[in-house]
């Protein structure tokens, strides 16, 4: 059976269990709505859900772009300059001890209830995985390539070696960072929405929860999950397309 087929069977099984819990446990709809009620909600409020999903998606995508940009620049600066490494690396690592969640209220206070505070949250939450992964890749260029470069070019061509060998060699590591980022960026955006907002799926969930519209809460949750999974697979497919030489290739070519 194909991967998609197996995934559908598993999901079908989970839906059955869900329905069974609701039916056998005689749970009221304000605690756990049955799957059909959620599907009905998804269908009836599709427009509402999509408009809020659009806001959240925009926050996530902008946060991803900004976080990737800042993280990449930081990693390059760390790998290129001993001074930056010496003075900023300890602070960077220590700063990770502060949970991003704890500064969410501050960000909303400073940047307001609009998009900016959510983009900042998503940026902050992905900054470290991007920086750490890319920096790690930049530090682990295979020795043979560096030896070759040392014989080929004079020592003052460090920038060229970074540009033509070290940086491309670290792109797969940056790719791993981006996959992690794609998985955590939605957390940042939704968290920002929970702390204070007037739009987005996180806002819709809080709003539905306070009005006991649990079916709408579940519908928003499903939309968010779809959005997050879609983002992850888009990033994954994009990376495979951009780094074709790195796609894991199990069979050894034997054409000679």
């Amino acid at each position: 059976m194909s991967r998609l087929g197996r995934a559908l069977v598993t999901m079908g099984g989970l839906l059955l269990i869900w329905q069974a819990v609701v039916t056998l446990g005689e749970l009221p709809p304000y605690l756990l709505p049955d799957p059909w009620a959620v599907v009905t909600r998804l269908w009836r409020d599709a427009g509402l859900l999509l408009s809020h999903a659009g806001v959240t998606a925009l926050e996530i995508v902008l946060g991803m772009l900004l976080g990737t940009l800042l993280g990449s620049i930081s990693a390059l600066a760390l790998s290129y300059s001993q001074w930056v490494r010496h003075w900023l690396l300890p602070i960077l690592i220590a700063s990770q001890a502060i949970p991003v969640f704890a500064i969410a209220p501050l960000l909303v206070l400073w940047l307001g209830y609009g998009l900016a505070s959510k983009i900042a949250m998503a940026t902050l939450i992905i900054y470290f995985p991007v920086t750490a992964n890319f920096y790690d890749g930049l530090r682990h260029t295979p020795h043979g390539w560096l030896d070759l470069a040392r014989v080929m070019a004079p020592a003052d061509r460090r920038w060229a070696v970074l540009r033509y060998i070290v940086m491309p060699a670290a792109l797969p590591a940056l790719g791993s960072g981006l996959r992690v980022a794609a998985a955590v960026a939605p957390i940042g955006a939704v968290l920002g929405e929970w702390v204070g907002s007037s739009a987005g799926l996180g806002y819709l969930m809080l709003h539905a929860n306070s009005r006991m519209q649990i079916d709408l809460l579940f519908a928003a949750l499903l939309t968010l999950a779809t959005l997050a999974v879609g983002l992850y697979f888009t990033v994954d497919a994009g990376l495979k397309w951009l780094l074709p030489w790195h796609s894991p290739n199990p069979e050894d070519l034997d054409i000679d």
Binding site: G144, M152, Y164, W245, D256
Partner: protein, 256 residues
């Protein structure tokens, strides 16, 4: 299967002038143990010298010292035959092909030019690829090539550097026997007129390729020259003179 191309015309207009190499008082300490101490090595301009010895004796370290790839615990006085430094006048070929997987074969060949910020002579690069039988592979990525083809691409890259001194560290040891014999013949033809030092642990390879053969043995290691063989390289491995010398080498290295 790619056949060995026939070499008809000279592929480089002007060869770099012959350059002898002289290394004096080379010294290498590895974890408190002197691998060699006060070692002298002279390479005549335009000669093909093979350095033979058991593994772990320090052959590669000696070659790296000549390539300017010094590491802590290694020193020696290295000069060209003209009394000048060797920096920028050496090309290096390692056991791994060291092709960059994200570049096409052609871009790999011209890597040195790019690292030095020069404009690469594309025509010359294509010409060299034709001489190593890779004209059709110029625009493909290295991961589509077989081991033999990859090492031929590495040979073309080494030749593209157009340096008077070429240092090779067991470049054929990872190849199957037939591919190795073909590549030895090709290298002997294409490297003629340059000062070459080839490190190998295969006595037959040294006998086939070398104008001169040096044996490195003992601890701290010393170099001893073998009597030069008659005839031009690449020699036939079945030649009686080669077979006699082969037995003599095995006796010297204590293998029989």
């Amino acid at each position: 299967m790619t056949l060995l191309p026939s070499i008809s015309t000279s592929f480089t207009g002007a060869m770099p002038p012959l350059l002898a190499v002289s290394l004096r008082a080379a010294w290498l300490v590895y974890s408190g143990l002197a691998l060699f101490n006060g070692l002298d090595l002279e390479l005549a301009g335009g000669s093909f010298t093979c350095l033979l010895g058991p593994s772990g004796i320090g052959k590669s370290s000696l070659l790296r010292l000549l390539a300017g790839l010094t590491s802590p615990g290694v020193s020696g006085e290295l000069r060209g035959g003209d009394g000048q430094s060797l920096t920028g006048r050496v090309a290096y070929m390692a056991q791994q092909d060291l092709l960059l997987p994200w570049l096409s074969v052609l871009d790999n060949i011209t890597l040195g030019n790019r690292l030095r910020g020069e404009k690469a002579d594309q025509q010359q690069a294509l010409n060299l690829l034709e001489h190593v039988g890779l004209a059709d592979a110029a625009f493909t990525r290295p991961d589509t090539l077989s081991g033999g083809m990859r090492q031929r691409a590495a040979l073309a890259r080494t030749l593209m550097e157009d340096r008077p001194v070429v240092l090779m560290d067991e470049p054929f040891s990872g190849l199957d026997a037939l591919t190795r014999l073909r590549l030895q013949a090709l290298s002997a033809q294409l490297l003629a007129g340059r000062t070459v030092l080839l490190v190998t642990h295969d006595p037959l390879e040294a006998l086939r390729m070398g104008d001169h053969i040096l044996i490195m043995n003992g601890r701290p290691a010393t170099l001893s020259a073998l009597p030069d063989l008659p005839g031009a390289s690449p020699r036939d491995p079945g030649d009686p003179a080669v077979q006699d010398a082969y037995r003599a080498i095995l006796r010297m290295l204590g293998a029989v």
